[in-house]
C-alpha cells in the first residue's frame, strides 16, 4: 500500500497545482520536530517506493507510528502550507 498526499497547501512549491501535489512521489524529511516535505527543496536521486503520482514515495521519520522501513503506512497524509506533514505521529 502506498500513501496518497490528500492535499498540499504549500502553494509556492513548483509541484503544487490547486492544492494537489503533482510530484511523482514525495519524500517526507525535515529538520527538528517538523516532519516536512523534502521534495520541496532540491533535486533528489533517491528512488521512491512507489511510482504513483502524488504519493508518499518515502518517509525518513522512522519514529513515526506510520513508518515501516521508510514507507508510510497511513491511509493518506496532509501537507500544510509550510510543507510539513500533519499526519506525523510519534509512537
Amino acid at each position: 500500500m502506498t500513501t496518497a498526499v490528500r492535499s498540499c497547501a504549500a502553494t509556492s512549491c513548483s509541484f503544487n497545482n490547486n492544492a494537489d501535489c503533482n510530484a511523482l512521489a514525495i519524500t517526507i524529511a525535515g529538520a527538528e520536530s517538523q516532519a516536512s516535505c523534502g521534495t520541496f527543496v532540491q533535486l533528489d536521486a533517491r528512488r521512491p517506493v512507489t511510482s504513483d503520482a502524488g504519493r508518499v514515495g518515502a518517509c525518513h521519520r522512522l519514529e513515526c507510528s506510520y513508518n515501516s522501513d521508510l514507507m508510510c503506512t497511513a491511509e493518506g497524509i496532509e501537507v500544510t502550507d509550510t510543507a510539513t506533514c500533519a499526519t506525523y505521529t510519534v509512537a
Binding site: S14, F15, A23, L24, A25, A29, A31, E32, S33, G38, T39, Q42, L43, D44, A45, R46, R47, P48, V49, S51, A58, H60, R61, L62, E63, D69, L70, M71, V90
Partner: protein, 282 residues
Amino acid sequence: MSSTSHTSPTPASMAANPRAAHARSVTGRILAGEGAIELTAYRAGETLSSAVHGVSRSGQLVVADIPNLFHSLGGFHTADDIEVRADIVKDSADHRLALRLASLHLLGTLRWCRDTEEVGALGLQGQLADLVQDVGPRVRVGVISTERILLHDCSGVTAYDAAILADAATAAPSTDALHDAVMSTAAETLADVADAVLDDILPGWTERLDLPEDTSVVADPAHCVDVDRHCVTLARFTGDQGWVVQVPLPSPAHAPSAQDGVIAWRHLLDSLPARRITAPRP
C-alpha cells in the same frame, strides 16, 4: 522515477550482485564519515546538526561535537541515554548541482562517553580521531547503538543489520585519485559516458530524475554526483529530462590500489564510441 538496468557486458568482479555491492559500499562510506549527520531526539523535539560521525575500529557508530564553542547541546546535554533518530545525507560530489544522492536512517540510543579514558577505549579513527586529537577533552563523544540501518538511494531502500558497522570500520582503498580524475573530466565527456549507458553500449543502471519545471538548477549536460570504487554515478540532463546514471568500474583481480580506479576510468573513456552529437532523448 523509472529504473532501467543495462547489464552487458558486466565486469566479472561485480557479476554476483553489482548493485547490492555498490549499495553496501556507499553505506559503509557514509557510516565511516561521508555526508552530514543530523541527530534528532524525537521525543524532546531537539536536533543536533553540528556533529561529525564515523565508525570506531571496534565497529561502533560514534558521533562527536564541540559544545560551548558555537552552541550548547541543549536537550542533548544529559548523562542519560537518549533515544535518537540519525539521518545522514549525502549530496552530489559536484557542488554546482543541488542534488541529494543518498541518505542513511536509523533509530538508536545515544550515550555520551563520561571521560577521556572511555573515549580512548573506543579506538577512534579518521575525522573523529583528528577532532579529538586537535581539540582534546572539550570534544563530547558519544556512541549510538542501533540494530537496523536503512540506505535510501537511487535503487530504493536497502536495510542492513548492525553487522555492517564492522564492515565500515575496515578502511577501504582511497578513491581520492579516481575522484579527481572523474571530477576533472569535461561535462561533454561525462554526457557521452551517460549516453553510452542509456544506449546500452556500456553496462550500468539508469534512473529517471523527477525534475521540477524550473530547471535552472542544471548547469551542464552532465555532472558527476558520486565516485565509488565500484562505480561512478552521473546526472545527465537533456531538455526538461534528467537521469541518474551509474557506470560500474571493472575492478582488478589483485588487491586494488589507489591508481587502479583511475586506470579503469581511463579505459572506460577510451572504450567510448567516437563523440556523437547529443540530441534530446525521446
